[in-house]
Amino acid sequence: MADFIDVYLIPFLWILGGVLAIVVPLLLAVAYVIYFDRKIWAAIHLRRGPNVVGPWGLLQSFADGLKLLLKETVVPSGANKGVFFIAPMLMFIVAAVAWAVIPFDEGLVLADLNVGVLYLFAISSLGVYGIIMSGWASNSRYAFLGALRSAAQMVSYEVSIGFVIVTVLLCVGSLNLSDVVMAQESAWFFIPLFPVFVIFFISALAETNRPPFDLPEAEAELVAGYQVEYSSLTFALFWLGEYASVLLMCAMTTTLFFGGWLSPFDNFVFNWIPGMDAFNEFVPGVIWFLLKTFFFFFIFSWVKASVPRYRYDQLMRLGWKVFLPVSLAAVIIVAGFLVGFDMLPNAA
């Protein structure tokens, strides 16, 4: 019995605690990030944004959540019920489970997988299923068109994201996300790999269906695309899943290109300032990680507010005819550079 407690129960409770410690703040972060998004958007439009519920409108997301909770769930008569309800759940689950491998600080990671990058890539490629299934199960033309667009779009941009990740991995020599961050101690990867970073960021916008690539839910032509038939909590799950995956993409950008939990002041530009070492010691890495992630979220909403929607054929052209060849060339150039100058990490 003692054996059972030591071998199974205690590790299980540790993992459960870790999961809760990630998911609860994630949900809170999503609630406030939606508010943040609306405020930024409003500021760019010279509006006020949500400012009625709570001080400065801070409780707006909770009011919206409560409203959705109390609404009636409408199921279209021709809908495929099982798939119709699984789709939003899948969308949210996929966005949440990917956080398991994100390193928030040195050693502060739920699952320190040695294929962490691949796991992240695999999970983000599953996000498309929620959308396709919802579009098909709703038995509606608009929803189906949205789902088809989304499937083609996400599959196309995944290819260039994959190649971008390969270039980063070439410079790291490991698939572990903590190793990816530690490899950036001397220089964050966005400096040597800037063009690749730009491709990654734009592909991340397309992968999360954010404007200017929000064609799956283009309200001007498709009403709301794959979410047309959803109401109440099922709609809320789509909403939460979408923002959780946007945050995930921001965290991924931070980890792959902006040094994860590393302090931005811990380099030769700032190290001569007296007391800088103590400051870097004092501020925990998780603060830097979150600040960087929210900074990228700010850029996401900035883009959303200021760029018009792409036309579908241009979207496909950008993905296949521009990003794919450029990222493929980047892989070859980076690999050639590393081999030619004998800079390969942990070369045997």
Binding site: S125, M133, A151
Partner: protein
């Protein structure tokens, strides 16, 4: 170890059940969804065997790419199920024959199966190998040294298949309007826009 075994049987049972549902469900889209479930559980089985690289590749390639396109196509098919099932029974004899032959072969193989020597020894050696640097590195080492020619040949075959698919399906239809992005971007207002001063009430 008991937990390991229980997890294995759980995932194996789900995989087999999903595989059965692929062929027995009435709706082809449900079939594809069950196929995806089968892929997913087999990825989980790879993880149990400590082959995490293969598991992730399974997720990325099969679920993330192949099955998405598969689902994409199947959803757009317009199948009449009543018509599809009409001639169903006429294939029963030949199907049954193949089934019986396969069953006999399986019985022969399983019936003559003998465990070499001490079975506990076999079970002990079947544990996952612990490789220096993880199995990602191990696969990379083998693939790019011992099997580099086979690997390159597989790549070339895939490339040829891709070109073949494009050549076979690509038709250039006359009279279709196409957008040329460079042409569009390089248009100047002088040749595209004309300003006219129109007196009121006359039109052009």
């Amino acid at each position: 170890m008991i937990l390991h075994a229980l997890t294995f049987y759980l995932f194996a049972a789900i995989a087999v059940a999903a595989g059965f549902m692929v062929i027995s469900s009435r709706n082809p889209v449900h079939s594809v969804l069950y196929l995806i479930l089968a892929f997913f559980t087999s990825a989980a089985l790879f993880v149990l065997m400590a082959a995490e690289f293969l598991a992730m590749i399974m997720l990325i390639v099969y679920i993330g790419a192949v099955a998405v396109l598969f689902l994409f196509v199947v959803m757009m098919l317009d199948i009449n199920f009543v018509e599809l099932r009409k001639g169903f029974l006429q294939y029963l004899p030949i199907g049954a024959l193949i089934g019986v032959i396969l069953a006999i072969e399986l019985i022969f193989i399983v019936g003559t199966w003998t465990f070499g020597g001490d079975t506990t020894l076999v079970a002990a050696t079947a544990q996952p190998m612990v490789i220096e640097g993880g199995n990602t590195e191990a696969i990379g080492r083998v693939l790019y040294t011992d099997y580099v020619y086979a690997f390159q040949a597989a790549g070339i075959i895939l490339l040829v298949a891709m070109i073949g698919a494009i050549v076979l399906t690509h038709r250039s239809r006359p009279g279709v309007k196409k957008q040329n992005i460079t042409e569009q971007v390089h248009r100047s207002p002088t040749e595209a826009v004309e300003l006219r001063d129109i007196p009121p009430g006359q039109g052009i």
